[in-house]
């Protein structure tokens, strides 16, 4: 069984110390794309938590039997399968949400966080810790998405989760809901996050993501 201390460790790393977006700058594409509405970001995050946890679990279970040189192919296949499951479930039971997210659900496949976790963690660790690692990183990503979306939706539409929170006097910052707004907001939040939680040591993570 997985130890409580290890579990705690996995979650602090996924959420704060190695937060996939703020620290590792992974998954930036989708974080920029879907963050103009909070509800979209939340559902996207939940989808990602599901995909990343179960992909990590599966990759970890079969890690000892997977021939090393085709492991990337296997990982991609596993990830795509889970993404398609999310897409089908949304279409069948949450048609409205499926419409709102449109093509972005399918794009979870290209999210580097999932591939990154499969490759760097699940490939070397037992199934249960890999599963929790997937959940932790998914949460880290969701947290970032929702926080970026909070500012963008609030400033851009004057609403939160679609509910109006300011009066008629509010002038929407159209800029915030357009793509450049995402870059500015994301950069500001990464700056804030890195000032609040300074990196303890030289990061060992190399390379950027999509």
């Amino acid at each position: 069984m997985i130890k409580l201390k290890e579990l705690k460790n996995i979650f602090t790393r996924g959420l704060i110390k190695d937060n996939p977006v703020y620290r590792q700058i992974l998954g930036i594409c989708s974080a920029l794309a879907v963050t103009n509405l909070m509800i979209n970001s939340l559902v996207m995050g939940i989808g990602l938590i599901f995909v990343s946890s179960f992909s990590s679990l599966t990759v970890s279970i079969i890690r000892k039997y997977t021939p090393k040189h085709i492991r990337m192919m296997v990982q991609t296949l596993i990830i795509s399968a889970y993404v398609i499951i999310v897409d089908i479930i949304l279409k069948a039971y949450y048609p409205n949400m499926s419409e709102a997210l449109g093509p972005y659900v399918g794009l979870i496949i290209t999210n580097c966080i999932i591939m990154g976790r499969c490759e760097s963690f699940a490939q070397k660790n037992p199934p249960l810790s890999s599963f929790f690692d997937g959940i932790a990183c998914g949460f880290g990503y969701t947290f970032v998405l929702v926080s970026v979306a909070f500012f963008r939706e609030f400033l851009g539409f004057g609403t939160l989760f679609g509910f109006s929170v300011v009066g008629d006097w509010w002038v929407n910052w159209i800029f915030m809901i357009m793509p450049p707004g995402a870059f500015f907001m994301m950069a500001i939040l990464i700056w804030v996050a890195n000032s609040l939680v300074p990196a303890e040591e030289e990061s060992i993570v190399t390379g950027g993501g999509h």
Partner: protein, 203 residues
């Protein structure tokens, strides 16, 4: 060079078969539900363009109205629907479709029986950016098309005009000029062909 071995291919093959069959099973299990959702959406859309309220109705009630009061008509190249209230014809529904900014757009437009007024416009599917072009789905935009007068003898095809142009009836979506223009183009073109065909039929 690495030694080529068949076990990798076999492994990949086995795992592909496992996952594909799992997906196929899930797809089979949810297929009916997905189709129901799509039909329901289409039915609701038809009621919306005819301005029949459906917010408090269940899925079954919506489908009943669709089967009992909306009739499909095929006339040469034109497929359209006649909407009834009781026994009186209250409007025609025409499918609209065309290329928008990011992909194909489909929807409905409904006209009064004398073809001089738009009763409503709705969009069924499109790939416009959520939050920008995707806002054509919002009531604020769609409601503007209700009650727009059409002059059947108009020379050009500019039936819909965006404000602040002279005689404009509709506010476009800020930040989504491309999508707004595409919607206008698709509707105007459809209106022109509707008026041509329907007039041709009367004579």
């Amino acid at each position: 060079m690495k030694k080529f071995n068949y076990s990798s291919i076999l492994f990949m093959l086995v795992i592909t078969i496992i996952f594909t069959s799992a997906l196929a099973t899930i797809h089979q299990l949810t297929k009916d539900q997905v189709q129901l959702n799509e039909e329901l959406k289409e039915h609701k859309s038809m009621l919306y363009v005819l301005d029949i309220p459906f917010e408090n109705k269940t899925a079954i009630e919506v489908s009943n109205i669709r089967t009992n009061y909306i009739k499909e008509i095929k006339k040469e190249s034109l497929i359209y629907y006649e909407g009834f209230k009781g026994d009186t014809l209250i409007g025609y529904i025409f499918p609209i479709e065309g290329d928008a900014v990011w992909g194909y757009l489909r929807g409905f437009i409904s006209l009064s029986p004398d073809l001089t007024e738009i009763i409503g416009v709705d969009f069924l599917s499109h790939n416009e950016t959520p939050g920008l072009g995707g806002r054509i789905d919002e009531l604020q935009f769609k409601q503007q098309f209700r009650g727009i007068q059409i002059d059947p003898d108009q020379e050009d095809e500019n039936y819909i005009i965006y404000k602040p142009n002279p005689n404009g009836q509709v506010d476009a979506i800020s930040g989504a000029t491309g999508t707004s223009d595409a919607v206008k183009r698709i509707i105007n073109k459809k209106l022109e062909s509707i008026l041509m065909e329907m007039k041709g039929g009367d004579n």
